[in-house]
């Protein structure tokens, strides 16, 4: 029977050109989305390569400067590259979160958060702004990536295909014929839905594989192939979920119009309404501290911190830091007023307080994310989006993790140079090789247990809906 149903459906689909039109739409959307995703990936990737290259150039220039530096008095002046205060102020290091090639499938939050940062010990950022410069209109609308196609567009195509799964047959009076031949209606409908699902999945998967092979063959390498297939699996699970929803709605045997309106309403609820309600609830439960208030606190601290007292406290704890007062072989900026030692101690104190403020924001954001993550089962769109973003490491959780590491890296870097300033310890050319800029590594990938839970839940929902629909079809 299945063969006959498949053959009949295929004839129907080819006779009114539905297949070819759908193939055209899917190919066009998938290729455009992949090209767009890849352009973003390449843009960020090439910028990061430029940063690494510039860093190496800076290192070579500074090393050469150190080796050739001479001062008429035989001291290390403030113009010397090895001078700790000059090095503190001017030597740039970087931290970056290299984009996973899977970003071409799921841009996620990578356009919102900074993927790289360049700083010196004195300036927490040497860039004109923290995040990538983006047209705010584009940020608001979001990037046209494959996740958008999978989550928003393909369900619409499924609705267009399957809204009259039953009603179409009923209107053509073929259901009477099916019953007359003794075919169980429930199985007939199931085979029809299965055929449509297999056909759409086949078109989508083949298009995706060919497009990825042409645009980003790197995804087929050993490193990424498993994640890539997990992405494909999630997408196909999502499509199956939508076919089951349609199958379920059709099972109530109302007219095609009712089915169409119901399916579009479900689309609006699952894709717009539920995500908003969850997001709003997360924001209310775990509000992020006011940035305005944080800004004020920072300003107050900047005024309150007593530079002399802070320096004195530090010197009392580490008497060897007193060296900056006695050593005359190395000059510091504004040395007469202890300007630089005062400044580095003040900065350390200020950054310590600011870090705790920033950390409180990240903590609340993580709570929000955990809440949304726990409620991802409320909508398949949330579940699959979360999964795709996690696989590509472009979700907020990964970015917070990176930002925390970046902050810690900066604090360590600043502290290391602060000691050198107070000890008036020149930076040696050899020390340059010991500096390792931060290349973030994803140590929290989309785990197999999570993939298992997500898949089981999705399959459970599908089985439940399909089962209910099956019983419904069996009713006379």
């Amino acid at each position: 029977m299945i063969r006959h149903v498949f053959f009949y459906e295929w004839k129907k689909f080819t006779s009114d050109h539905v297949v070819w039109r759908s193939v055209m739409i899917i190919v066009l959307l998938t290729v455009t989305a992949l090209i767009n995703g890849n352009r973003w990936y390449e843009f960020e990737h090439s910028t990061m390569q430029q940063i690494v290259q510039d860093y190496e150039t800076q290192k070579d220039t500074v090393r050469a400067g150190m080796l050739s530096y001479t001062h008429p008095d035989g001291i290390i002046g403030i113009d010397a590259p090895q001078n700790p205060s000059t090095f503190y102020a001017g030597y740039r290091v970087y931290a970056m979160k290299p984009l996973n090639p899977l970003t071409i499938l799921s841009v996620g939050q990578s356009d919102l958060y900074a993927n790289y940062s360049v700083f010196s010990a004195r300036d927490k950022t040497r860039l004109i702004q923290d995040e990538e410069i983006q047209n705010p209109l584009h940020l608001m609308t979001g990037k046209f990536d494959l996740t958008f196609v999978i989550i928003y567009i393909l369900p619409l195509l499924i609705i267009a295909w399957s809204y009259d799964l039953y009603a179409g047959e009923a209107e053509r009076k073929t259901t009477t014929l099916i019953r007359a031949y003794g075919f169980p209606l429930s199985r007939y409908m199931l085979y029809k839905a299965l055929f449509q699902f297999l056909l759409l999945s086949l078109i989508f998967t083949v298009t995706l594989l060919v497009a990825v092979a042409a645009i980003k063959p790197l995804l087929f390498s050993v490193l990424y192939i498993l994640d890539f297939f997990l992405c494909c699996g999630l997408a196909i699970g999502y499509l199956l979920c939508w076919f089951t929803i349609s199958f379920f709605i059709n099972a109530w045997r109302r007219n095609a119009l009712f089915n169409g309106v119901m399916l579009v309403s479900i689309w609006v609820i699952l894709l717009l309404f539920i995500p908003y309600v969850i997001s709003f609830r997360a924001n209310t439960l775990y509000p992020v501290p006011s940035r305005e208030k944080q800004s004020l606190t920072r300003r107050t601290l900047a005024k309150q911190i007593d530079r002399k007292e802070t320096l004195q406290k530090l010197v009392s704890a580490r008497p060897d830091f007193n060296r900056f007062r006695t050593d005359t072989t190395v000059q510091l900026i504004f040395e007469a007023s202890h300007g630089y030692p005062h400044f580095v101690c003040y900065q350390a104190e200020l950054e310590k307080c600011c870090y705790s403020m920033e950390d409180s924001v990240w903590h609340q954001l993580q709570q929000q994310e955990a809440y949304c993550h726990a409620l991802r089962f409320a909508s398949p769109s949330l579940l699959v989006t979360h999964g795709l973003h996690q696989l590509a490491a472009t979700d907020t959780h990964h970015y917070i993790h990176y930002l925390q590491q970046q902050e810690q890296y900066y604090q360590t870097w600043r502290q290391r140079l602060q000691e050198q300033v107070l000890l008036k310890q020149p930076v040696s050319p050899a020390a340059l090789n010991t500096i390792t800029p931060l290349h973030w590594k994803n140590d929290q990938p989309y785990s197999l247990p999570q993939a298992g839970t997500d898949s089981l839940f999705l399959l459970g929902c599908i089985a439940l809906m399909a089962g209910t629909a099956h019983i419904q079809y069996k009713k006379p």
């Binding site: 843009f43 995040e131 608001m140 007219n255």
Partner: protein, 474 residues
């Protein structure tokens, strides 16, 4: 003839008023709209209160900083927070995707920081539930539901023949149907406008300018709904069944509201690619390479020559203040070029986006709605320009104080010890930062083309509807 058209329209309305679906639909829309208005109103008040308090506290901090060197005060600076009009309750626009505060300090022009989207969970990117969101996405759906069967139902019930036999032409039937939909639309929309007035205009005592903006926004939304009504009725004329008509109308909705806005981003970034933050930062760094000592020495020599004194110690002004002002000016020019370049790129992208945006009235409506609610792109640029002008004036005041009041000290990076200090009398000379919104004339002046596109859509939808009545087949 007009009487017959009106009669038909009233019959349409009467039929809907007898239908329980119409009431359910109206109730759901109202509920959603009221909920979004209340939630956004609360958010707005909380944020506005925090911002006002913060701005006042910044001012108090500035005035009470005590005796300090003016250049030290310039480094301490001021933080300017972006203010929002109560119209933001209706449309949050880009406020979640632009920085909310600018730290104003000497030597550099900082970008706006604290983008709210970065401090919210990722689910936000599915869409923010604002009244504008409901008007832009949900209202067209309701219009489609109200109008998809306008002609097809008559065909399916075989009443079209009856209507034509009552000496009604196809054109009159169409006009009657459109009028009927407009009546239904007004029944839903007028209370929505009243709600907007109650939640936005009345409690905030809107200025005439903002009241006019609200009125314009309401009118533009009505035009947007009219476009959907006309498109839906036109589709109904072409289709043989209500099912096909609904599918066609829904496809148009998805194309206009979901697909085209994203594809325009793709097109505009493909045509105009803005350089990265890193590239711009390198550009600033490479240009910002003046040697302060050289500038200082040049100014000192010029002043000595101008005043006819033998040594710099005899000058009646401090060249250090002038040197600071000169380098500030050099920095301003560099930042102006770089930020100007970024703005140009964004403007180019927005202009390119208008071309595929011709296919979606939502694109134009959204831009106009945001800008009229003072939450759009142009308003953000205006905020940037305004705070930069404020910063320049502030730095000039402080630098000139050093130039004219501080005693001469030879500048030395190793030995320098700051002795000159000023008190609150100078800090008071810097006025409090006050954000001003652009006037409605200024807003509309920048959106003439967008207005034309929306007007073009109305005309095109009317033309399509007029043409479609010829396609009505019995």
């Amino acid at each position: 003839m007009t009487g017959k058209v009106r009669q038909l329209a009233l019959k349409e309305l009467k039929e809907s008023l007898q239908d329980s679906y119409f009431y359910i639909l109206t109730f759901v829309v109202f509920l959603l709209f009221v909920a979004s208005l209340v939630l956004n109103s609360l958010t707005f008040h909380r944020q506005d209160q925090t911002r006002r308090e913060a701005q006042a506290a910044v001012r108090a901090q500035w005035l009470s900083q005590g005796e300090t060197n003016p250049h030290g005060a310039a480094h301490f600076g001021i933080t300017a927070f972006k203010a929002y009009s109560p119209l933001a309750i209706l449309d949050r626009g880009l406020s979640d995707y632009t920085g909310q505060a600018v730290v104003l300090e000497t030597h550099k022009r900082n970008a706006a920081v604290y983008m709210p989207a970065k401090d919210q969970n990722a689910v936000l990117r599915f869409g923010y539930f604002t009244p504008a969101f409901i008007l832009q996405y949900f209202f067209p759906l309701i219009i489609i539901i109200l109008s998809y069967a306008a002609i097809t139902a008559e065909k399916e019930n075989n009443t079209l023949r009856l209507l034509l036999s009552h000496a009604l032409s196809g054109k009159q039937i169409l006009a009657g149907k459109i009028l009927g939909i407009l009546y239904k639309l007004l029944i839903i929309y007028i209370p929505v406008v009243v709600l907007m007035l109650c939640f936005i205009a009345v409690p905030h005592a809107l200025s005439w300018d903002h009241l006019l903006s609200l009125g314009t926004v309401c009118l533009l939304y009505f035009l947007y709904f009219l476009i959907f009504a006309l498109l839906s009725v036109s589709i109904s004329c072409y289709c043989g069944t209500s099912r096909a008509s609904l599918l066609g109308s829904l496809s148009v909705w998805m194309l206009i509201c979901i697909f085209i806005p994203r594809i325009t981003n793709f097109v505009s970034t493909a045509v105009v690619q803005a350089p990265s933050t890193y590239d711009y930062s390198r550009e600033v760094e490479s240009r910002y390479k003046y040697d302060f000592s050289t500038v200082y020495n040049n100014i000192e020599q010029t002043l000595v020559k101008e005043q006819g004194v033998t040594t710099a110690e005899d000058l009646n002004v401090n060249p250090f203040g002038y040197a600071l002002d000169e380098t500030e000016l050099m920095g301003q020019q560099i930042y102006e070029q770089v930020y100007g370049h970024i703005e140009t790129k964004f403007h180019q992208q927005n202009r390119v986006a208008q071309i595929p945006g011709l296919l979606s009235p939502l694109q134009s409506l959204r831009t106009l709605s945001m800008d009229l609610c003072r939450t759009g792109f142009e308003e953000h640029l205006h905020f940037g320009t305004e705070v930069e002008q404020y910063r320049r004036d502030m730095m000039h005041t402080l630098n000139m104080d050093i130039a004219h009041h501080s005693p001469y000290e030879k500048h030395d990076f190793v030995k320098k010890k700051v002795t000159y200090k000023q008190d609150h009398s100078l800090w008071e000379q810097v006025p409090a930062y006050q954000h001003t919104f652009r006037s409605i004339t200024a807003v509309l002046k920048t959106q003439v083309f967008t207005l034309f596109i929306l007007a073009g859509w109305v005309v095109a939808a009317f033309a399509l509807a007029t043409y479609s009545y010829q396609k009505i087949k019995i």
